[in-house]
């Protein structure tokens, strides 16, 4: 099962690499934020898979942090785009 999880993690990273194109090309700031957010989600999943593969429980806390704070950052960016730094 560990081989399968490793393959899935590598495939997820390849999908995140596709999103770099949208991050570089995105015409508006919103496009780039969406791309970064999606990449962070993929990375959180890869960290979860990595912790299961390697048997280290500590990495799962990294995944929780990554998932919650990437979305928090996107929320703060959206608010900043709407109203400025108030």
């Amino acid at each position: 099962m560990d081989t399968w999880f490793t393959a899935v993690a590598i495939a997820e990273m390849a999908i995140a690499a596709i999103l770099v194109v949208r991050l570089a090309r995105g015409p508006s700031v919103g496009d780039r934020i969406v791309a970064v957010n999606a990449m962070c989600t993929q990375c959180a999943i890869v960290v979860v898979l990595f912790s299961v593969i390697s048997g280290r429980l500590v990495s799962l806390d990294v995944a929780i942090w990554l998932a919650s704070f990437s979305y928090l950052g996107a929320l703060v960016w959206a608010r900043y785009l709407e109203r400025g730094l108030k």
């Binding site: 997820e12 957010n37 898979l49 299961v52 919650s68 979305y71 709407e82």
Partner: protein, 111 residues
């Protein structure tokens, strides 16, 4: 950890579903013509791409184990935060006058 043939098959199927939808959502993020349609694709990447993978880990490790419970926490966080973030991003894009795709047929907030 629970491991049997049935569990392995379920895990493989869930991972395949998650990978397929992640790939389609990434292609959608690349190909969609408009920021609003791209936001819709990113929501699909979370709800259909990320959640089956996390559920696969829960099935693999069992829901009460330390791995499965934290994977469930990540899944619940994603399920709550992704729609809120998509809504905020769409709203901010609309309020800062990001242009819509010319083929869009309706602009409900303006009408």
């Amino acid at each position: 950890m629970i491991s049997s043939d049935v569990t392995d098959i379920v895990v493989v199927i869930l991972c395949a579903v998650g990978l397929f939808f992640s790939l389609t959502a990434a292609v959608g993020l690349l190909r969609m013509p408009d920021v609003y349609l791209r936001i819709q694709c990113s929501t699909q990447l979370v709800t259909l791409g990320a959640l089956p993978l996390l559920v696969a880990i829960v099935v693999f490790a069992g829901p009460i184990s330390s791995y499965g419970s934290r994977a469930l926490i990540v899944a619940a966080l994603l399920l709550v935060l992704a729609p809120a973030t998509s809504h905020a991003l769409g709203r901010s894009a609309y309020l800062t006058d990001v242009p819509m795709w010319p083929g869009a047929v309706r602009d409900e907030p303006r009408d």
